[in-house]
């Protein structure tokens, strides 16, 4: 698709890109630390991925192949909308195949397929501050990060255990990055947290409305907070995907009728489709043989 020449490549002007790029480099240099940046008003609403979009726009080049997912799927409306935006203002090639993408912008999931050194994962972040439910004041949380004073979060998780027998946080599950900064992984399910640890791909996080950028460099330790007697345990539905049979992927629950009928399918649509195609190829081979 040809790009719309009325706008600069990737929409942002070059000054804005430079400002974001400088913030990205400092974010990489201080893993997990939230770097304030002069987020611009984008032509998409705040809270709908403007931070991720600005990060992608600052990073994206003509040779990149872009994949955009929301809830793990390429075809959810907001993912479609963001992909169309970059198609129009950058004219870059887009893909739904995780393996073919050089940049993956995501909301709420990490793809099931392991990412490589040749890829960058850009997260859309609604609330970058992992402590915001415990302390809404930014001046206060900034101080806590400066002192690495994260007792408040440990107390919260411990109260969960005391009350419920286990930690009640199931998404946006807080992580420690390189043993120093407490970080919000964005609202991915806790199931995805382990994928962040020592990931070969660079992970970038953009929060547009809150005007913060942060990053996890490749191969960096990302540890989900837990306690020795209550180790971190990610949850997934105890079922297999109705379409591809996967027992290891994260599943969406689909309600099939109003009498309690339900089934489970992979949240990562590319992973699921690839598995189905592979199975068909296997079956075809089997029949041919």
């Amino acid at each position: 698709m040809n790009r719309d020449e009325a706008y600069n490549f990737a929409y942002l002007d070059e000054n804005t890109k430079r400002m974001i790029r400088r913030a990205l480099l400092k974010a990489v240099a201080i893993p997990g630390h939230q770097v304030p940046f002069g987020a611009r008003e984008m032509p998409l609403p705040y809270g709908w991925g403007t931070g991720g979009i600005q990060v992608t726009a600052a990073v994206l080049g003509a040779g990149d192949v872009l994949k955009v997912i929301d809830q793990g799927a390429d075809d959810t409306t907001n993912a479609v909308s963001i992909r169309r935006f970059f198609n129009r203002v950058a004219g870059v090639e887009t893909t739904t195949h995780t393996g073919d993408a050089t940049i993956i912008q995501t909301r709420h999931r990490i793809p099931e397929a392991a990412l490589t050194e040749a890829q960058i994962l850009v997260y859309q972040v609604p609330m970058p501050e992992p402590l915001f439910r415990l302390e809404p004041r930014l001046a206060e949380t900034k101080r806590m990060h400066a002192l690495a004073d994260y007792g408040l979060m440990h107390v919260k998780l411990y109260e969960d255990i005391a009350r419920h027998g286990h930690i009640a946080t199931s998404y946006s599950y807080p992580v420690m990055v390189d043993g120093r900064y407490l970080m919000s992984p964005s609202p991915i399910p806790a199931f995805d947290n382990p994928k962040m640890d020592r990931m070969p791909a660079l992970q970038l996080f953009g929060a547009g409305r809150e005007k913060r950028i942060y990053a996890v460099p490749p191969y960096t330790e990302v540890r989900s907070l837990d306690f020795e007697d209550h180790p971190f345990r990610p949850h997934r539905a105890n079922a297999s995907c109705e379409l591809c049979g996967s027992r290891s992927s994260y599943l969406d629950e689909v309600v099939t009728d109003d009498r309690g009928g339900r089934m489970f399918v992979c949240s990562d649509t590319d992973y699921c489709e690839t598995r189905q195609e592979d199975q068909q190829t296997e079956n075809a081979k089997g029949e041919a043989a």
């Binding site: 706008y7 002007d13 304030p36 940046f37 002069g38 611009r40 008003e41 984008m42 609403p45 705040y46 809270g47 709908w48 403007t50 929301d70 809830q71 793990g72 799927a73 075809d75 959810t76 409306t77 907001n78 479609v80 909308s81 169309r84 909301r107 709420h108 999931r109 609604p126 004041r137 930014l138 001046a139 419920h164 027998g165 286990h166 009640a168 199931s170 998404y171 946006s172 609202p187 399910p189 806790a190 199931f191 409305r209 913060r212 949850h235 997934r236 539905a237 109705e242 379409l243 994260y250 599943l251 969406d252 629950e253 689909v254 099939t256 089934m263 399918v265 949240s267 649509t269 489709e273």
Partner: protein, 366 residues
């Protein structure tokens, strides 16, 4: 059963846009609204969109209102998204509102004062009775008599200036530095007053109205008087670096409100009056007054007053005043969240199972 993963996001978006365009236009038998009509006849809506959109352009604001079907927050959003792409040639000199060409000017603190009271085109004393003659779209109204025209030449010093000369008004110190620009730099705390004022000027009228109102009802120790509200046109000047001297680039209409508040004094300052300041583009008296009340409430910190009320809480006010940010985040809740919800489902089921297993042995006991 044959289940196929939901597809068709692309087509659904295309269809939604086509339908939206159709409903925006409405019944094609009714003549299309012209942008100029909005600019002329819905002027207060245009003013609000310019103010909250941080962009003085009546035609673009009117277009935004038309495109947004009259949703003024959506219109401000359209205008801001346009504004952000514009190159910046420079920064204007501060507006001199003392030199305003006045259309309306009222003071609640003095019966009469130099320059006089000028009622101007206000709803204030209209009886709020629906005017069915307007529904009939008849003749344009007769021209207004020009009795107040003489005020235009009169010198109208600002009320706060009159108090300052007597030493009764707290002097505002010039911070002697360029104010930050919130549209380029992120907010940080504590915020400079210029930053707070920029935030409030862009802030949502309804939010500031509610907060300002709360200060009058005891949430924040405030005793405000309207020192002065003035409306009219001011000259915008710019000093291009290549010229090195000031040039006039145009005139804009603004509304300014200065609230006068009593201040009991502190260890370092004698009892005196303090001011809350409001300024908006076009005619926006309600917004300018609300802004002035909230501005004064936010000064609690530097005046050494107790900060107990919501309107005095700088982080709370400044981080929640922006309706484009607020709209986006509130409305983003309608985006799919089923991945997170699924993880919540699993955890709630687990917790229920835990509770049930703990409850069972107890049922054995009488």
């Amino acid at each position: 059963m044959a289940y196929v993963a939901v597809k068709g996001g692309e087509r659904a978006i295309g269809n939604a846009h086509a339908w939206l365009a159709e409903t925006r236009r409405g019944d094609a038998a009714v003549s299309e609204l012209e942008v100029a009509q909005i600019g002329q006849q819905l002027g207060l809506a245009v003013d609000r969109v310019m103010t909250e959109g941080s962009c003085h352009d009546r035609d673009l604001a009117a277009l935004a209102i038309k495109q947004s079907k009259g949703d003024l927050i959506e219109a401000a959003f359209l205008l801001r998204a346009y504004r952000t792409t514009l190159p910046r040639f420079g920064y204007a000199e501060p507006l001199d509102t003392a030199a305003m060409l006045i259309r309306r000017r009222v003071s609640a603190t003095y019966k009469d004062l130099p320059g006089g009271q000028v009622l101007g085109p206000t709803f204030d004393y209209t009886h709020r009775l629906l005017d069915f003659a307007l529904a009939a779209a008849g003749e344009p109204p007769a021209p207004a008599p020009e009795v107040e025209a003489e005020a235009e030449d009169a010198v109208a010093p600002r009320v706060t200036e009159l108090l300052s000369r007597e030493g009764l008004m707290r002097r505002e110190e010039d911070a002697a530095q360029e104010p930050a620009d919130l549209t380029r730099q992120p907010l940080s705390f504590p915020a400079a007053r210029s930053t707070r004022l920029q935030n409030l000027a862009r802030g949502d009228e309804g939010f500031l109205l509610g907060l300002g109102y709360s200060t009058q009802r005891g949430y924040g120790n405030s005793h405000p008087f309207v020192g002065e509200i003035r409306q009219g046109s001011v000259t915008v000047c710019l000093t291009p670096p290549e010229l090195g001297f000031e040039i006039e680039i145009g005139e804009i209409e603004v509304t300014e409100c200065q609230m006068v508040n009593q201040f009991h004094g502190s260890r370092s300052e004698p009892p005196q009056f303090t001011r809350g300041y409001g300024l908006v583009l076009g005619h926006g008296e309600r917004k300018a007054m609300s802004m002035a009340l909230v501005d004064r409430a936010l000064m609690a910190g530097e005046l050494g007053e107790d900060r107990t009320a919501p309107a005095q809480d700088e982080e709370f006010v400044l981080l929640h005043s922006d309706n484009v940010e607020a709209t986006g985040f509130v409305e983003h809740l309608k985006l799919p969240h089923y991945v997170d919800f699924q993880s919540e489902l699993e955890v709630v089921r687990l917790m229920r199972a835990t509770v049930a297993s703990q409850a069972e042995p107890e049922q054995v006991e009488p």
